[in-house]
């Protein structure tokens, strides 16, 4: 089945739990991003507007307002580095520099091979082990300049 068809059928599923119109837009956008590698393409936005019976402008307003969504294509793996003060004061800036050096990209950019997108995020609520980052759904804590390389390598290995 095409991705967009899968999206339509899954929205129909969640719609059964919908209490009021509009209630399921955020959840549907999360679903779309899972299916379309971390971003929301036009075809997904169109399908959502149709299935949820709302204007496409509303889909886009939400997709661009919240930081977890992206309408710009992103890489296969999404790296989110915490930029809040609690991580900053425990040598966060060094981790930031090292990560940029390894990936050879800046925040908001995707590596040429399409494997990683690097983003900054506000506090992830795991400050007990900062500095922290999340790669997709997995969190990594007590980061050191030495430990980052190995973590990134693990995801590079997935490509094969």
């Amino acid at each position: 089945m095409e991705k967009v068809e899968i999206l339509r059928s899954r929205i129909k599923e969640v719609k059964s739990k919908q209490v009021e119109k509009g209630d399921m837009i955020l959840s549907s956008l999360h679903l779309a991003q899972e299916l379309f590698e971390n971003s929301i393409p036009l075809e997904a936005a169109e399908a959502m507007a149709e299935e949820l019976d709302v204007k496409i402008e509303r889909i886009y307003e939400i997709a661009t307002f919240y930081s977890m969504y992206s309408t710009k294509p992103r890489g296969k793996h999404l790296i989110r580095l915490c930029e809040s003060l609690p991580c900053h004061v425990v040598e966060g800036p060094q981790i930031e520099q090292k990560l940029k050096d390894i990936l050879k990209i800046d925040f908001g950019q995707t590596t040429k091979d399409g494997l990683f997108t690097l983003e900054q995020t506000s506090c992830l609520g795991i400050c007990g082990v900062g500095p922290v980052m999340m790669i997709d759904g997995d969190a990594y804590g007590n980061l050191t300049v030495e430990s980052i390389e190995g973590i990134i390598e693990k995801y590079r290995g997935d490509r094969k």
């Binding site: 307003e61 930081s67 977890m68 809040s84 003060l85 004061v89 506090c123 609520g125 795991i126 999340m134």
Partner: protein, 527 residues
């Protein structure tokens, strides 16, 4: 009860140290040696302390081990579990986890009464510790009597604003409408705060039970827990707890055979700090951009989908079943005159022991940082502490002995979300200011001009100063611009910017002035 119980903490912080795989290895070993009847391996909430290795507790000995490899774990299994010989080299001194000083601190577990003790994914363990008993009792009381109990306890909102909880309940109860909602604000986004996450992951049923109690009290049949989208682990654990509660008939129709029916669903957020504002959260739940609404009308009259809505923070809810079971008088015994009960603090930054601790309101920063936290990390010197989160004030070490509660803002100490960020002398005030303002700039929703434009102007100003191209007048402008944004912004986000910025300015004015005098361009650690 099995003859040996081994507890692994698997909250989000411990997970990052690998605790889940260690717990699994221990379970596998127990199974391999056919000891399942004798030894229980349990995953529980936080012990409140994070070290370098994985920490676990063994009963009946009541000791803690810290291990950093599977081999260490196997050694303990072979020696302790099989032979009954304590392996002292992996032992963690109890004083370190429950330091003598911490007893002096009167650590009081009301909110965290079950965290680190029960398996949060097992509803029966919650029930065994009087779980859902408060709900049972409440269903035999008059609605207003329950509300009077909450009012008498003096409980106030733990999200930061400190509104009297009982009063909020009463206002929603008195609003006349056929449909009402109970919302739990679990959109925890205040930097340095992770108490809600640990409550949701360590004792989800305490929040579910409290929401049902609130639903009965105000006359609502539907509840939503709005959890931050990034909190994958919390969402998973709370969903399991809701499913279990439904299966046990503790949620759903005719709870405990009464006329009361109540259901709860989770709605995930999608990354927006402003949504932590109660009206913005309702906008988000309705499938809109999370921008705050004009008040009045207040949510208690006109909330979610225009219906009367009660919204409380996770920690506020977690207090409720305890208050019902122990009475408002017991609760009032803790805390200060105007701030009753306890507060869960998260201690972060340049401190030896990072973690969470629950202390009575009115404790001091010194107790938190030197008692529980073990002092400043790497033997460095304390420069300042930010209290209450990024939207909180910075204080110098001369305020370490003042009490913290809702009233302490008069001394320049904000309680806020209970985050205590320790900052050592390696950090420059200008970098801290830039980071704080960047946060505001990034999270501003764009609805009102002072916050949207003002935070950006402030950032540009600080950036210039940090690069050594600022002017002397710029320094004074930090203060005036912060005050202007704070005075004219629409919601709590912009309004709170004076707390961090003015306190930084007042405490470190000389340091800022140095930057506009100095000729060197390399004055900041940041690029």
């Amino acid at each position: 009860m099995k003859s040996m119980t081994i507890l692994f903490s698997t909250d989000s912080n411990s997970l990052l140290n690998g605790s889940r795989s260690y717990a699994q290895t221990m379970k596998d070993l127990v199974k391999e040696y056919n000891l399942s009847k004798m030894v229980d391996v349990v995953e529980t909430g936080t012990f409140g302390f994070y070290g370098k290795g994985v920490l676990f507790q063994v009963f009946p000995e009541d000791i803690y081990y810290s291990v950093s490899s599977v081999d260490d774990l196997k050694e303990i299994f072979n020696e302790h579990v099989l032979k009954g010989r304590i392996v002292s080299k992996f032992l963690v001194e109890k004083e370190k986890i429950k330091p003598a000083k911490r007893t002096e601190l009167k650590e009081t577990r009301i909110v965290l009464r079950n965290a680190g003790i029960i398996d949060p994914e097992n509803i029966e363990e919650y029930i065994a510790r009087d779980g859902y008993k408060a709900l049972y009792n409440v269903l035999r009381m008059k609605q207003m009597d329950v509300i009077e109990m909450i009012k008498a306890s003096g409980l106030r909102g733990r999200g930061g604003a400190g509104f009297p909880t009982g009063l909020k309940w009463e206002m929603t109860f008195k609003a006349k409408d056929g449909k009402k909602y109970v919302l739990c604000n679990a959109d925890e986004g205040e930097p340095g705060t992770f108490k809600d996450r640990l409550i949701l992951e360590g004792d989800p049923h305490s929040v579910i039970e409290a929401m049902a109690i609130a639903g009965y009290s105000i006359g609502a049949d539907t509840g939503y827990i709005y959890i931050r989208g990034e909190y994958y682990n919390s969402i998973k654990k709370v969903q399991k707890a809701i499913n279990d509660a439904k299966e046990y008939g503790l949620l759903g129709n005719n709870i405990f055979g009464s006329d009361f029916s109540f259901d709860i669903a989770i709605r995930p957020g999608a990354g927006s700090y402003v949504v932590g504002d109660e009206t913005a959260l309702m906008e988000s739940l309705e499938g809109k951009a999370g921008r705050p609404r004009l008040k009045p009308p207040y949510p208690t009259e006109h909330g979610l989908y225009g219906k009367p809505t009660l919204i409380n923070n996770v920690e506020t809810f977690a207090n409720v079943p305890w208050i019902i079971l122990n009475g408002p008088g017991a609760f009032r015994r803790y805390g200060t005159e105007k701030s009753k009960g306890t507060k869960v603090f998260s201690l972060v930054g340049n401190v030896v022991n990072r973690g969470i601790v629950e202390l009575p309101m009115g404790c001091t920063l010194r107790e938190l940082i030197y008692g529980f936290g073990g002092g400043v990390a790497k033997g460095r010197t304390l420069k300042m502490v930010q209290t209450g989160g990024t939207a909180g004030t910075f204080v110098k070490p001369d305020k370490l002995d003042l009490p913290i509660d809702y009233e302490s803002i008069k001394d320049g100490i904000s309680l806020g979300s209970g985050s205590i960020l320790v900052i050592d002398d390696q950090n420059k005030a200008i970098d801290i200011a830039k980071k704080a303002v960047k946060f505001y700039m990034h999270e501003s929703c764009g609805k009102c001009t002072p916050c949207r434009e003002g935070t950006r102007d402030l950032y540009i100003l600080l950036d210039r100063i940090s690069k050594g191209i600022g002017k002397k007048e710029d320094i004074e402008r930090i203060r005036t611009l912060s005050m202007e944004i704070s005075d004219s912004s629409f919601c709590g986000l912009g309004q709170s910017i004076n707390l961090p910025l003015v306190s930084l300015y007042d405490n470190f004015k000389d340091e800022f002035l140095e930057l506009v005098k100095a000729k060197s361009k390399n004055t900041s650690n940041l690029i």
